[in-house]
Symmetry: C2
Subunit: 229 residues, 2 copies
């Protein structure tokens, strides 16, 4: 047990082992972005990271394992959940975080290389799906909180909502679909939260009609009320 | 002028010239899907289409012009606007059309090759943007019709709505994000149309409260009512 303790202390976060691991994963992320999945070689990753090739091979015997860990190091799993006081604010912060990652130095290239790689390796498909699952969960925590607080409808499909808000961000990164300013992010969020049907207005009209019915006795003109709404 | 007329008659739709053109564009579409923008050669397109290389070069001097015309031949510009009697039905039909194109024989490969190509050629960026503009317009015609009919709110941003509904379809094709069944398409559409806020329900709750206030006189406990909602 004492030797295990010694080992653990060698592998503590921030220790040499963790630094080596991070250097290799950063290099893999960069190589993947620049050369794509097809062009990724463990030799180049070792060279770029300054870590001995044998060390890299020992820990990541295959390219797929290395790519999986590189992507995993960018997971949203441990991201703090935004808490701004409104679903719009929380989702904006979440979307800004995703935008920052997707448009970062290697983020866009990495995304493109994954799009190309999913047809080449079933292992990469699993990795991408796990990553996407964690990103949807990160957004889902926001949605579920606002369902609990009674602001979002209880039957809201959190996965679907996160997907509908994030997909246009991804697509604008992948195809030159336009800018990703804060206004644009808010546009996606507002649309998904508010919808576009006249229903809300007609529900309000129902309320108005109820109170109008109540005030009929007081001689208020319903037509006039309707015209002013 | 009479020679121009002769020329025009040679180029009538369905004539030899149009058939040659379509054969070349179909071959370009297929080659682009299989080999990507970087691997596309006019020689291979000529070979695949069975059209003389010199003929292809005469009409499409550069690869970019050929890609632009190939993509343009798949434009939504001349698609009939669905007319099912509801915005949900129209949008479903529209989305099914887009899904069919994106998941067609060469559609997915073509989309992936464009994603890869946009970083390599500014001409392709313009082509992709024009194509996307026409697809958003095709969806926009549906939205605008239902705004005119008073079913969608007049301030609805048609471009944004089409983008929010289509982007998840594109993303599920590009990354293995899950199936694209009719139910899934309806999920995207319903979310964008209805939103997820409790607003509608709270408008209804107001109505409830109004009737609760009315029934207070009858001794109904408001707190108890509130707890059960």
């Amino acid at each position: 047990m004492s030797s295990a303790t010694t080992n653990d202390s060698k592998r503590r976060p921030g220790g040499r082992s963790a630094r080596v691991r991070q250097a290799v994963l950063d290099a893999a992320f960069a190589e993947l972005g620049e050369k794509g999945y097809g062009g990724l070689s463990i030799e180049a990753v070792a060279l770029r990271s300054g870590v001995a090739k044998t060390t890299v091979y020992r820990r990541w015997p295959t390219r797929d394992e290395l790519v999986a860990d590189a992507l995993d190091s960018r997971s949203d799993r441990n991201e703090p959940v935004p808490d701004t006081g409104s679903p719009r604010g929380d989702l904006k912060e979440f979307c800004e975080g995703v935008r920052a990652k997707l448009t970062s130095n290697h983020g866009k290239a990495m995304l493109k290389s994954l799009v190309a790689a999913v047809d080449q390796s079933p292992e990469i498909v699993e990795t991408v799906q796990r990553f996407w699952r964690e990103r949807r969960d990160a957004g889902g925590h926001i949605i579920e909180r606002w369902i609990r607080r009674g602001v979002l409808r209880p039957e809201t499909d959190a996965d679907l909502l996160v997907e509908v808000i994030l997909a246009p961000i991804y697509l604008r990164v992948l195809l030159p679909g336009g800018p990703l300013t804060g206004d644009v992010l808010e546009g996606f969020i507002d649309l998904a939260l508010d919808g576009v049907l006249e229903d809300i207005a007609s529900a309000r009209t129902n309320t108005d009609q109820a109170s109008a019915a109540a005030s009929d006795a007081a001689g208020v003109d319903r037509t006039e009320r309707a015209n002013t709404t």
